[in-house]
């Protein structure tokens, strides 16, 4: 029985030696002190950000609609239109909203919500091309139909108005190449047009729509 005990002790000793040997494999035998120096320091947490700074907060240049529903200070019917900024040739393009991206290289996306009346009545739904069959503009000449509206943004480079979608998509007006790539610090001046519905019966005269720019990471 004593031999069995010694055998078990020997096995345990072998395990212990193997374990200790593996743990200190990188340490040279007989080294009195560690010749390396470890330096600890803190690094900043890098952010990707987008900041919106409008210098003009008016939707102006109202036009469209037909008598007696045409107006120069409200959206008329059918398909009245107003602009934040101006992109109508031959006028100089004015884009009063500054979009600034900062951080590592990424991209800028944009999305629009529905138009909501102040009385919380029936909303106007965003429509436009390439959004999907349920969001096709049903009005004449591809314009918004009843209870529909569209938002198009543009930039000072003159790419032309681009329809926004109800989900985040590449803001092709952000980059001069017509893409939405964003470098470490890049900004763009943008404006947008709002085209109202062909007709609608909500008595509310105050409407709001939320347009959101999103700083996106690189793919």
């Amino acid at each position: 029985m004593r031999s069995l005990t010694w055998f078990a002790i020997a096995i345990l000793a072998v395990f212990a030696v193997v374990k200790l040997g593996g743990g200190s494999g990188g340490q040279p035998a007989g080294a009195g002190h560690d010749p390396t120096l470890t330096i600890h320091f803190n690094a900043i947490n890098t952010y990707n950000t987008v900041t919106i700074s409008p210098s003009d907060v008016q939707c102006g240049h109202y036009h469209g609609g037909k008598f007696p529903n045409a107006s120069t200070n409200t959206l008329g019917q059918p398909n009245g239109m107003c602009s934040v900024g101006r992109d109508v040739p031959p006028h100089v393009v004015v884009a009063p909203i500054k979009i600034t991206y900062s951080g590592l290289s990424g991209s800028v996306f944009i999305q629009s919500g529905n138009a909501v009346p102040k009385d919380n009545g029936t909303q106007w739904h965003l429509c436009g091309p390439n959004i999907g069959p349920e969001s096709v503009c049903h009005g004449p000449q591809g314009k918004p139909g009843p209870y529909q509206f569209s938002v198009k943004n543009f930039n000072i480079v003159g790419l032309g108005p681009t329809s926004l979608r109800p989900w985040p998509t590449c803001d092709v007006n952000f980059d001069v190449d017509g893409r939405c790539h964003a470098h470490r610090t890049q900004s763009q001046q943008e404006g947008f047009n709002i085209i109202g519905p062909y007709w609608q019966k909500n008595p509310s005269t105050t409407w709001s729509v939320t347009i959101t720019w999103i700083a996106m990471p690189a793919k």
Binding site: L4, N48, V50, S53, I194, W213, I214, M216, P217
Partner: protein
């Protein structure tokens, strides 16, 4: 004539006051930032388990206070399974930030039992509550970063809930017990293993103490 003399300074003062009053509105901005580095789970995830994810950092880059809400939203297309929003718990929603202030929002991940193995990717999108008005439109800002983790098929079968080091320790103990049992059986059966050290100047038939000259 004295009345006219005061008209010019008054007009200048009024104009300055107008500019001063208009300035804050014109310079108002909204902005949101989120950490550029993706949020990654340390290690792999197993179906049916919950994990603490690293907190995500957000910042208010605008000129007014705002609340930040983080949503799980797959925006970019690419490889990796989409993460159902219900898998990610975000208890620190609606954190209020002063201009240029930042915060860390804790995150946790609950992988349901039937989750398929593979890489999962989504975006964590931080939306700011503040907006600036522009002609009936509310202009808002948001920022996104990636959330990545991998769910692996469970190798442990029924014992998936036992940590890995416990399984290894149990395996070694089992092997040792097996070895001890084998030695005991061999000992009791009369099997002996003799280890001898044979020196060249002594014959095997000689007594142990004898030595040839």
């Amino acid at each position: 004539m004295p009345q006219r003399r005061w008209q010019v300074p008054s007009a200048v003062l009024l104009a300055l006051a107008g500019v001063w009053l208009a300035a804050p509105a014109a310079q108002a901005s909204v902005g949101v930032g989120i950490q550029a580095a993706p949020v990654r789970l340390a290690g792999v995830a197993h179906a049916g388990q919950s994990y603490q994810l690293p907190a995500v950092s957000v910042i208010n880059t605008g000129s007014q206070p705002e609340s930040i809400t983080v949503r799980v939203q797959r925006i970019l297309t690419g490889p990796g399974r989409a993460v159902p929003p219900a898998w990610v718990q975000i208890p620190g929603q609606g954190v209020r930030l002063a201009p240029h202030a930042e915060a860390s929002i804790p995150l946790s991940l609950s992988v349901p039992g039937g989750a398929k193995p593979g890489g999962y990717v989504t975006e964590l999108v931080a939306y700011g509550s503040a907006s600036v008005q522009a002609g009936g439109a509310s202009l808002g800002a948001a920022a996104a970063t990636k959330l990545e983790f991998r769910v692996v098929a469970d190798p442990g079968g029924l014992f998936w809930f036992i940590p890995g080091w416990v399984s290894w320790a149990a395996l070694w103990l089992f092997l040792l017990a097996l070895l001890a049992a084998a030695v005991t059986v061999a000992w009791k059966s009369g099997l002996r293993l003799r280890v001898t050290h044979d020196t060249p100047d002594r014959r095997a038939t000689d007594p142990r103490w004898s030595r040839h000259a």
